[in-house]
């Protein structure tokens, strides 16, 4: 253990209760809120006023609430997948790229496959899932068979995906009707996802997200496969001893995680943009933000519904303060970064109990 002064005593907390974890997470977020508040003050804006705007902007109007949900949808879908991957001890940092490949698949099917509706949209979702899953399975196999670091491989593939999209929109898929802009053509209306009237909430993806959260919760907690995933993630040695194949489980977890990220990508292009264009405007860092969403959900798929909503609020808040207060959207990144730091900083309070007083001799 790190050296501590004699009057601080740190011992391992045996098994943190759910309540403890929740409480500590909430405290971490509050700290982040306070620090971000300092930023507002720095800009001459009262922090309370700013937070007031954000709350109003996120909940106070129909537009606000629906925009919050719009931001929540991809975070929910990806977040559930990430929770599954993290549970199997696979650090999927590549959700951004998997999302984009899902978007690519959906765009390709929408623009060129000629599948008629009503089969077109299901085909797009299936294709998107498959593309995302494929994008994620490579790193899984590399880790299981060759022990190659999953963080790096998934991260690198993000950029390969970005450049793939660039190539497509500037090259073979360049839109004929887009006056030279780097966009594909607009999708046929058969490929437009049904929306909640007048909003930007694309319903199928939202439904998939909610269903996935419930299904994954059930799978992880109550099924055989979920049991195997948990054993692999919580003690790989015991998994080997029990005869569980780490390779199969890792690959399965990444099929689910990559596939769900791909589905999020389908939702973005088929529900919001109706075309494939600049990858960063499609992905909007959802892949990275979802990591925080999954982390905060403490590996519980159902909790992702809550945490994705929270971050939907934050993203909406970013828009709001830009419009109403003229503050830069980048504050969202500051806020996200702060939350993440306080969260991982708070882990030590979850794992260990800090007491003040002199150390008693242990037998």
């Amino acid at each position: 253990m790190m050296k501590t002064p004699a009057w601080i005593q740190i011992d391992r907390r045996p098994s943190p209760s759910g309540l403890t974890v929740f409480a500590i997470s909430v405290i971490a977020i509050l700290f982040a809120l306070v620090m971000a508040g300092l930023f507002f003050e720095f800009y001459g804006v009262s922090a309370l006023r700013a937070y007031g705007y954000i709350i109003k902007g996120a909940f106070g109007s129909r537009l606000g609430l629906t925009e919050t949900v719009r931001g929540m949808i991809p975070l929910l879908v990806i977040g559930v997948g990430l929770v599954v991957a993290f549970r199997a001890l696979f650090w999927n940092i590549g959700a951004e790229g998997q999302l984009l490949m899902g978007a690519v698949a959906a765009s390709g099917i929408a623009l060129f496959s000629g599948i008629p509706s009503p089969w077109l949209i299901p085909a797009m979702f299936l294709g998107g899932f498959a593309a995302g899953a494929l994008w994620g399975v490579g790193p899984a196999i590399l880790k299981a068979k060759l022990g190659i670091n999953d963080v790096i491989t998934t991260l690198m593939l993000n950029y390969v995906a970005i450049y793939t999209v660039h190539w497509l929109i500037l090259g073979p898929w360049k839109g004929l009707t887009q006056r030279g802009f780097p966009y594909t053509d607009r999708f046929p209306t058969a490929a437009f996802l049904p929306m909640l009237g007048g909003t930007r909430i694309h319903l199928p993806t939202l439904a998939i997200g909610l269903v996935a959260a419930a299904v994954m919760y059930f799978v992880v907690k109550k099924t055989r496969v979920g049991f195997e995933i948990r054993v692999v993630g919580e003690n790989p040695d015991a998994a080997k001893y029990a005869g569980i194949s780490q390779t199969k489980i890792t690959v399965l977890a990444m099929v689910i995680s990559g596939g769900l990220a791909g589905v999020a990508g389908v939702g973005e292009v088929a529900g919001i943009h109706h075309m494939l264009f600049n990858p960063s405007s499609i992905a909007l860092s959802y892949g990275y933000t979802a990591i925080i969403v999954a982390w905060l959900a403490r590996r519980n798929p159902l909790a992702v519904i809550l945490t994705s909503f929270l971050f939907g609020v934050i993203m909406r808040g970013g828009d709001v303060i830009k419009i109403s207060l003229g503050l830069p959207f980048q504050l969202v990144n500051v806020f996200n970064g702060l939350i993440l730091f306080f969260l991982i900083g708070s882990e030590i309070f979850v794992r260990y109990r800090v007491r003040f007083g002199t150390k008693k001799e242990t037998a």
Partner: protein, 519 residues
């Protein structure tokens, strides 16, 4: 601390090290119980004992890795407190551990110099370093290429680097912890030659071992440790292997458990010429042949590190055999996966029961079905039957007296005894026909130990064939019907328990074949 002039003497020979009344406790066990050790300057002094006797703990105290709870350490007659390995090195005490403290990707000279404040500023005087290394190598016969990367060296060469590391820091007391366990016979000869040269030059060597051959060959004096106490110190020329064996294993009454005579069933396991490598790639099993019948307990006696761990892993599918067969009719276990073997009804109580045998963050209930979750009793249409798991847990907790608030408690919160009971409950509940039990009572208190032994006997009476691996000879004798002695991956002899003679067993454990012993 500078070497002081005056020193305590023992029979007018200067003393290098004196450990006086050393007591060291760990949770649940007294590793050193009032140990006195006197090592004379310029001798090779062996510390002999089985595992758990306290040899390594004692030396770790001398090397500053542990602090004694009671007692004192005297170096050249002066009491001293060694707070860390760095302090030990500063006092010219060097230690070559069983698992080398070497960085594989660095070169020999880089490893030797690691942590030292040499050279001008941050730079290294490689030429000077190399010269000093070469000089030391020549002086003591430790040939090694200073520029070679450590991972490229053989184990014997790596050990030489470790010795050089100590010599480079002007060590005059060298502690070697089971140094021959990783060497080939030729390398062992080389090492002994080196040690004799070192001693001739005035160094003192403390040599931890469990191998009687080596003690007789290399040491001047030997101290025998048993169960935390120093039992005797003798001059090697005046003793014999037989006497040492007797001192090492003790003379307590060994039969005090009610045991029905075995009701032997059919042969269930046929092991023929089994070979396997250990994690370092060296041979761990070198042609083991034995069989096991239903209704008996075959105890595997031997000092830890002679292949028992690898044997248990090969028989349960966690390690691949390189040669040989292990037939559990009609399957050859060497060709089965861990999963298949578990499904075949082979129970495995692993050596590291917490690290390997349980998932500490999961509940008692879930750990109890860690292997059986696939079966139709607990899993239907891929969904786990929680009710069945709950009932199973309740039954197991009652039957095996696992004490915990409820079945949902995380296993990591249980005491060692309860975890062992849980593992036993899991492994033995399915009426297995073959049980591999590795060190089942290690670290348990008396009550838990009794319970575990009773359970094993019950299974044996039920007709299971049990392979019991244990370092506790008492336990092996109390429980086994036959005793197999393992040494360096080979079967030294298989003896029916009633015929077993402690001295013979001790000799076999230390390297003699049965034929040599009984003649």
């Amino acid at each position: 601390m500078e070497k002081r002039g005056g020193m305590a003497t023992n029979n007018s020979v200067p003393l290098a090290v004196q450990l006086s009344g050393i007591v060291k406790r760990f949770p649940g066990v007294i590793a050193n119980d009032g140990v006195n050790l006197i090592v004379r300057r310029g001798e090779i002094h062996c510390l002999l004992g089985e595992n758990g006797a306290g040899k390594t703990t004692l030396m770790r105290i001398l090397y500053g890795l542990y602090q004694p709870d009671e007692g004192e350490v005297l170096l050249h007659g002066q009491p001293i407190r060694i707070g860390s390995p760095k302090a030990a090195l500063a006092n010219h005490i060097g230690m070559v551990h069983q698992h080398f403290h070497l960085v594989p990707t660095l070169t020999v000279e880089e490893n030797i110099v690691l942590g030292l404040n040499e050279g001008t500023g941050p730079f290294l005087q490689f030429k000077k370093t190399r010269q000093k290394i070469r000089r030391l190598a020549e002086e003591y016969g430790l040939q090694v290429d200073p520029g070679a990367k450590v991972w490229q060296l053989t184990v014997g060469q790596q050990q030489r680097v470790e010795i050089l590391k100590a010599l480079y820091r002007d060590a005059d007391i060298l502690i070697m912890d089971e140094p021959t366990s990783v060497l080939t016979p030729q390398e062992v000869d080389g090492l002994f030659g080196t040690l004799r040269t070192l001693v001739a030059a005035g160094l003192t060597v403390i040599f931890i071992t469990h191998k009687l051959n080596e003690v007789m060959e290399i040491s001047d004096r030997v101290t025998v440790l048993r169960k935390g106490k120093a039992v005797a110190t003798v001059n090697t020329p005046e003793t014999s292997k037989a006497e040492l064996a007797r001192l090492m294993v003790g003379r307590e009454v060994i039969f005090n458990v009610e045991k029905k005579p075995p009701k032997l069933g059919e042969k269930i396991l046929d092991v023929v010429d089994l070979h396997a490598l250990n994690d370092r790639g060296l041979p761990a099993l070198r042609g083991m042949t034995f069989d096991l019948y239903g209704g008996e307990i075959l105890g595997v006696a031997g000092v830890s590190g002679n292949g028992q761990h690898e044997l248990s892993e090969v028989l349960t599918g966690l390690r691949k055999a390189t040669e040989g067969r292990a037939i559990l009719e009609p399957h050859d276990l060497t060709e089965c996966s861990a999963r298949t073997i578990a499904d075949l009804g082979v129970a495995h109580v692993p050596t590291e029961r917490i690290r390997v045998g349980t998932v500490p963050t999961m509940s008692i209930r879930e750990n109890l079905i860690l292997k059986s979750y696939r079966s139709s009793a607990f899993c239907k249409w891929s969904i786990l039957n929680e009710k069945a798991a709950y009932e199973n847990a309740c039954k197991a907790m009652k039957e095996y007296e696992i004490l915990a608030p409820h079945d949902g408690t995380a296993v990591g919160n249980l005491s060692g005894g309860n975890i062992q009971r849980l593992v036993l409950a899991r492994e033995l509940s399915g009426s297995p026909k073959f049980v591999v039990a590795a060190h089942p009572t290690y670290g348990l208190d008396v009550g838990a130990t009794e319970q575990v032994r009773e359970v094993l006997l019950k299974q044996r009476d039920r007709g299971a064939g049990i392979l019991l691996i244990s370092e506790d000879l008492d336990e092996v004798f109390q429980l086994s019907d036959r005793v197999l002695v393992i040494y360096e991956g080979q079967v030294m002899g298989i003896v029916p328990a009633e015929e077993a003679n402690l001295e013979e067993i001790g000799l076999m454990m230390a390297g003699s074949h049965r034929e040599e012993v009984t003649s």
